[in-house]
């Protein structure tokens, strides 16, 4: 299997006439954790949302250029299909408040009208919750509403919901910025486990987090991809001045 899974060529994203992602070229290798960092408003979240075509849901948002998954153009596929292949976890935990924990995990099937036999559903729920280290904590409360869980548990439930769809890529939009330090470290540990099966792209403005969890790091500044390299190299020997300034804390 080819090692590159997501590829962007001359990719641009705009809100109306506001050019927020400029000419990005990037190759994302399979089964790696990629951190995308940069100061607020640098376009990193917008870029992430372009990968599973969530960007275009905002009125006035457009994009152009090439974005492929397994050499297939994402923008030629139907967005519904893209989003089933590329899962997403958001900044704030957002389990469906009207559904139980169990139903939240299989929401991708249930709410899409996919009928599965009970045994299969049970297997998916247990497997997904085990993957996110939540099974032991909630296995006796599967019928309770997801909103009863703590913030960190809710976030892991949301990861389980994305994992249950068996996507190829998982996108994380600042997944720990609304969590306490202990929940944060639990979620960070998950990244190492999850990259065995999935490719993870994590937007973060926490440099320590990028350094801790990622194999490769991309640095965005003012909508441009400034530098993209092995995380070790990025944090010890960055080539670009702006990267150097950012990681040494000269601006943020």
């Amino acid at each position: 299997m080819e090692s590159t899974i997501i590829k962007s060529r001359n990719f641009n994203a705009l809100f109306g006439s506001n050019h927020v992602v400029k000419n990005v070229n990037i190759d994302i290798p399979r089964n790696h954790v990629i951190a995308v960092m940069g100061p607020s408003g640098c376009g990193k979240t917008t870029y992430l949302r372009c990968i599973n075509r969530m960007h275009e849901l905002i009125p006035g948002a457009t994009s152009n250029g090439e974005m492929t998954i397994n050499n297939e153009n994402i923008y030629d596929m139907h967005p519904i299909f893209v989003r089933q292949k590329i899962g997403m976890v958001f900044q704030r935990p957002n389990p469906f408040p009207n559904l139980s924990i169990y139903d939240n995990v299989i929401a991708g099937y249930k709410l899409n009208g996919v009928k599965l036999p009970k045994a299969e559903r049970d297997r998916i729920v247990e497997h997904s919750l085990t993957r996110v280290a939540l099974w032991k904590e909630v296995k006796d409360a599967l019928n309770k509403k997801g909103s009863f869980l703590s913030g960190g548990q809710q976030q892991r439930l949301c990861i389980a919901r994305a994992v249950a769809m068996e996507p190829e890529v998982l996108l994380f939009d600042e997944p720990t910025s609304a969590l306490d330090p202990i929940s944060t470290s639990t979620v960070e540990e998950l990244f190492h486990e999850l990259k065995v099966n999935y490719t993870l792209i994590i937007v973060t403005h926490n440099m320590q987090q990028a350094a801790r969890v990622s194999d490769k790091t991309a640095f965005f500044y003012m909508g441009e991809l400034v530098e993209y390299d092995e995380t070790k190299i990025m944090f010890t020997n960055p080539k670009d001045n702006r990267t150097q300034n950012y990681i040494t804390g000269r601006f943020s």
Partner: protein, 282 residues
């Protein structure tokens, strides 16, 4: 600041608090008076016989309001069948596409519709339905009432759905759900308590409407289940019988008033219960 000034200011704030409290009480009093007055005048007329019989002709004692009760229920049921789906779908459009030109005009029309006098809506229904169809009918009354329900259902749906966090929809879209499933499987179920309370309030609002029914449902002294024919309704019966010169009929009107009042009161209480019970904790 000297002590006198402080005392003066404390006194002023005290007076302001008393004034607002007094007026808050003053708003409760009219309802209590209306309730007390009507229940006192009408409660003695109500019994089983009153609920299951139709009015008797002049000169005979007894009789009930079964025809009006059945009529009101049928007319309101049909009105809800028309207005609730249209209203909810329109509300969904407005909350999802709040900034389009169509949304702007739609909102404006809904606001104006809310202000159109009910008698005018009755006349319109008369010209649109009663005349072309060649006769008065309960159905034309339902259409008139449905038009009156629409603004309330639309605005309450829109306001409820707008308050839901956008993260909810994003979660659904990110799982690859198509728009209609996002709306009907996620957004509407989460906002259901607000939508239902809007529906209930709109029903409570049209229950007492008399004017639109005068030209449409027309009234009927007999029990009728045929919605294509004239039909009696509670407010219409009150209007007819309270203005009659006969004491028996006047009593009937008092009893019907109590029923109507209880109906609206119960609807409002139910609405509160539903809102509390079905509220989805976000």
């Amino acid at each position: 600041m000297d002590g006198k000034n402080i005392k003066y200011r404390i006194g002023k704030s005290y007076v302001a608090q008393i004034v607002t409290t007094v007026f808050a009480f003053a708003c409760v009093i009219p309802l209590l008076f209306i309730l007390g007055f009507i229940i006192k005048a009408g409660i003695t007329k109500i019994n089983w016989h009153f609920l299951v019989n139709v009015p008797k002709p002049v000169g005979e004692t007894g009789g009930g309001i079964a025809n009006a009760l059945v009529g009101s229920i049928l007319i309101i049921f049909c009105a809800s069948l028309i207005a609730v789906p249209i209203g909810i779908l329109c509300g969904i459009y407005l909350s999802e596409n709040g900034k389009t030109r169509l949304a702007y005009w739609c909102r404006l029309c809904v606001d104006i519709l809310q202000g159109v006098p009910s008698i005018v809506i009755g006349i319109i229904a008369y010209f649109w339905l009663v005349k072309p169809l060649g006769g008065f009918s309960a159905l034309s009354g339902s259409v008139a009432l449905a038009i009156m329900m629409l603004p309330i259902v639309i605005r309450s749906t829109e306001e409820t759905l707008k308050l839901l966090p956008s993260s909810l929809q994003e979660a659904a879209f990110a799982l690859g759900m198509p728009f209609h499933r996002v709306i009907f499987k996620v957004v509407v179920p989460v906002g259901i308590s607000g939508i239902l309370s809007g529906v209930m309030l709109s029903i409570a609002r049209i229950t007492g409407e008399t004017a639109p029914l005068l030209f449409t449902a027309f009234g009927n002294p007999y029990l009728s289940f045929n919605i294509t024919k004239p039909m009696q309704s509670l407010p219409h019966l009150i209007f007819d019988y309270a203005t009659s010169p006969y004491d028996d009929w006047k009593n009937l009107a008092w009893g019907a008033s109590v029923i109507l009042l209880l109906w609206v009161l119960l609807l409002n209480i139910f609405t509160k219960l539903i809102t509390r019970k079905w509220k989805v904790q976000l």
